[in-house]
Symmetry: C2
Subunit: 218 residues, 2 copies
């Protein structure tokens, strides 16, 4: 067998921190780069993991405590020079989770950093996050993906705000609602969200319906 190729998974976990897109990082417990903040990741365990996706779920859950409602393969970074230990393959995934669920599940040492203000990161983790942000933005423009950054239930205003944060641009309320309506991926709930003013209709992602795609950018 060909020797010594390291096979790992790394996960970019996104959430909204005070309305800003943020990623979860952990301090590394061992060399290389011990003590530095980095993406949660780890070796694939051939005996334990049925697939790389299963490995990503395992690593994310065991290292951070989080069970993300959305997780998808991002890209595979594989080269001789990205890891001081040797030729390394990292199958990367990105995951989305609502802030509330994250706070409830995350271990104490899990750190959130806004993507707009990231520290320098070891390995090529900076590039990985960049790729994740690009993918999230791109896919959000054509799909219902941002729903997964909210809680189980949410209002249309909250959803619009989330799209605006991710895409970095204001959207027209009327246009936004028309498009969301057309996709038919939300289920109207019986309750409303009550605040200081007129209560807002609550929605959740329609069970039974997968991730819908727009035919044009939102």
């Amino acid at each position: 067998m060909h020797p010594s190729i390291i096979t790992t998974v790394d996960v970019v976990l996104f959430t909204l921190l005070e309305g800003n897109l943020a990623v979860g990082l952990l301090r590394r417990s061992s060399a290389p780069f011990e003590g530095e903040l980095a993406l949660p990741g780890g070796y694939i365990h051939a005996q334990e993991d049925a697939s790389a996706q299963a490995a990503a779920y395992r690593v994310l859950h065991s290292k951070t405590g989080i069970e993300a409602p959305y997780l998808e393969q991002l890209y595979t970074f594989a080269s001789a020079d990205r890891d001081p230990r040797g030729w390394a393959v990292s199958i990367t995934y990105y995951a989305l989770v609502g802030a509330e669920q994250l706070m409830a599940q995350a271990h104490d040492d899990f750190v959130l950093k806004p993507v707009a203000d990231l520290p320098a990161l070891p390995f090529d983790h900076g590039k990985i996050i960049e790729a994740g942000v690009a993918r999230l933005q791109n896919k959000s423009a054509y799909s219902a993906l941002p729903c997964f950054l909210l809680g189980e239930t949410f209002t249309l205003s909250e959803l619009q705000e989330t799209y605006e944060r991710i895409l970095g641009q204001k959207l027209d309320k009327s246009v936004f609602r028309r498009k969301i309506d057309e996709l038919e991926f939300l289920e109207e709930l019986a309750e409303k969200r009550r605040g200081q003013h007129r209560p807002a209709q609550l929605y959740r992602i329609h069970p039974e319906r997968g991730l819908r795609l727009f035919d044009k950018a939102i």
Copy 2:
């Protein structure tokens, strides 16, 4: 180090065979599945390959003779059960090449099969090709990708025909030309293609300009 994870690359090479989308296959020279048709692929050589992409280029060129003008990472298939030899990672790539260049470069044992009529393939190569076709179709609808299935130079009618073959639908000539025009990724050449009737303007992909994207489906 964790033992015995196989790390390979596989390449889905697309071309047009009499106007139909086709993939290139090779008879395997060793077990498992010796003698069966399969995607060109091979182990990553840690000593030789600087990156997985470099490995894909090396494998494709050394096994088939082809130097593809376009090659991009597709997806990474990684699980315990996809290869009888054990836990296996395949970083897959898809590549595009014009029929003319393919005929000039390909080794004799390289076989083209139309994607509409594929034989059963070993491993999960059927799934890999499926993913490649889906990606090609999707990306073609939003980009200049189909250019790479033609030769160095081509007419707008040829390009439109190629889009129609990949997307599986007729396109309006006038609309098609408007959109191609807007992208500004073609360079008008001095020559024309002469046939039975009115000669057609020849174009090539503009050097210096990368792969342009439409903002809507073509």
